[in-house]
Symmetry: C2
Subunit: 351 residues, 2 copies
């Protein structure tokens, strides 16, 4: 059993007191990774604050992990020492249920092992995430990073990236489709990049006129201000697909009205009750609302390969581990363009 340094947080802000967390010795199917960068996801903060219940302390967050292979088990031939690899939201699943067989491990019927705050299958206790120096992961859950991508900007692809790529990919967004991306944050900015790279006509839909310029820089063809009723009314019934990244409950009716007949709006952010939806808005035009959760491992690798091909990374601000509490505060206030990534060298230097 090896020990590494990591940080926990509980209600009061995280401090830099060292804690030892257990990492198993690599089995023959495992990859041992030195973590170089780790993205900061809003769900890290939710889990630190136990907003969803069930948080286990110490929480070591982090599921947007980029690192280098330092050791590999005897059965691992797909990775070499020194390879740049990624680890996302999951580190294991049953591999036998119908969801796993369909390459949708995120819906594993026996419960996927999430990268942190899940029951640890190998050791007592729970899993610890990527705000850490190393991690040991089953080879099936390790992703190959395209060599041309900047590893710092690539970290958020492992959660924000796949969360937005998967619905666009699954619902077959393609050249010429008119796609609306609702909400410009960590998820929304990736949604714009992906939809644009897929050849769609991308409309950024936001409450904030001041975000227009940046949305266009990211690849949006148009910006639609959702508070402008006239502008919304003009675009009614014109969208082939809507990717709704708003992270809180809200009134979805004005967005449903933007959909074409038979078109779908996919929710990826609002893990809470949404305001009353008018049944008539679905019935008129046979419209659809769906949800989507990250993506399976196979699709995550497809997403990374797509990013390699189109040179897509996240717009990030690199921080030291010591800055995490300020970063959380700024993230909560929506003051980050568009993702914080922790340089793990700062943690190594501190210890």
């Amino acid at each position: 059993m090896s020990t590494v340094k990591a940080y926990g947080a509980k209600e009061e802000k995280a401090d830099l007191k060292q804690m030892s967390i257990d990492r198993r010795e690599p089995t023959s199917d495992d990859v041992h990774i030195e973590i170089m960068y780790c993205g900061v996801c809003h769900s890290d903060l939710h889990q630190v604050h136990n907003d969803w219940g069930g948080s286990k302390y110490p929480v070591v967050p982090g599921h947007e992990i980029i690192g280098k292979v330092t050791k590999r088990g005897d059965n691992v031939d797909s990775f070499d020492k020194g390879d740049w690899v990624g680890v996302g939201c999951m580190v294991d699943s049953c591999q036998t249920c119908s969801a796993c067989k369909d390459d949708l491990e995120q819906f594993c019927e026996n419960g996927a092992t999430m990268t942190y705050n899940s029951k640890n299958k190998h050791l007592d206790g729970h899993t610890f995430g990527g705000y850490s120096e190393t991690i040991v992961v089953n080879k099936e859950f390790v992703l190959k990073m395209p060599e041309n991508l900047d590893p710092k900007g690539a970290a958020p692809l492992l959660c924000a990236g796949i969360t937005t790529f998967s619905p666009l990919h699954h619902w077959k967004v393609s050249e010429g489709d008119k796609v609306g991306v609702i909400g410009l944050g960590g998820l929304g900015h990736m949604g714009i990049k992906f939809a644009a790279a897929m050849g769609a006509h991308v409309v950024m839909i936001t409450t904030s006129p001041e975000k227009a310029e940046d949305a266009k820089r990211l690849g949006a063809d148009e910006v639609l201000i959702s508070k402008d009723e006239d502008a919304m009314s003009k675009q009614e019934g014109s969208f082939d697909f809507l990717l709704n990244t708003i992270p809180v409950g809200h009134d979805v009716n004005p967005y449903v009205n933007l959909l074409k007949r038979d078109a779908t709006m996919v929710m990826v952010g609002a893990i809470e009750p949404i305001d009353p939806l008018h049944g008539g808005n679905l019935i008129m035009g046979r419209k659809r609302i769906a949800g989507s959760l990250i993506g399976g491992i196979k699709e995550t690798q497809q997403m990374l390969d797509f990013c390699g091909e189109h040179n897509i990374t996240s717009d990030i601000e690199l921080i030291d581990m010591q800055d995490i509490n300020d970063a959380y505060d700024r993230m909560q206030d929506g003051k980050v363009k568009y993702r914080f990534v922790i340089d793990m060298q700062s943690l190594k230097d501190a210890n």
Copy 2:
């Protein structure tokens, strides 16, 4: 211009005072129909009461029309005098927009002409429905009735039938699928019959244990009482498709939880706000909610042919025109198994 007798209703109950309504002389593309039977739909009552706004008085309701061809225009060769025919919710559409070209006239982008209470394209004023002796309809909106079907029981197929058949057909319900039909009324009882005829394992989902026996008689394999939390919990994640016929706003979350991964619940009844839906219930399992509205003319004919093949009609109670106000009262109280149909001979006898 011919005149026929019909009845209007406005806030106060309909009386049997004769009114003259305009029916155009058949054009070369028209079919003139003697109405024999007309189903009574809940939306007739909504329009009589102006619940949705926009009702034009006198309202002559009725869009589940069965009759015999009495005259046909010169360009009509698909119907002969004496043929049994049906007319549903629509009597015309633009025939040129993308919805019409896709055989989805119910979503005509220029506005389909509904059988009653729509702008009349040929005469001043609005359209009058099937609580009447005759009707003149463009040949494209006249349906052929299979000869083996009892015309009385076939009347409700034109609205309640297509409303439930269309989503089952469009979402490709097939042999062995586990299908839940939510709500046992005029729509729900047709949903059970269709899903069973398609070879599905049909579960009637209802709040009312007393409906169990009848649901099984109609073709349900199982009955699930939605107020029984244990029973609902046991069936979580097990349904391939849900047809939700509840006609009012309600909490859809317990039903969404019944869906399998990637499965859809289609709403056909609730043309009003539904209670807050938890985004997480869609996100976990990539589930979908959609709406559906009647069906296009081509699909309506497919539905009728399917009914002919499987000998499916509605369970009805035949009434005289003079009984309509009592029928409305009973319909509002849910006391009809499962559809009233007016024998139009009673109207002819009265005049």
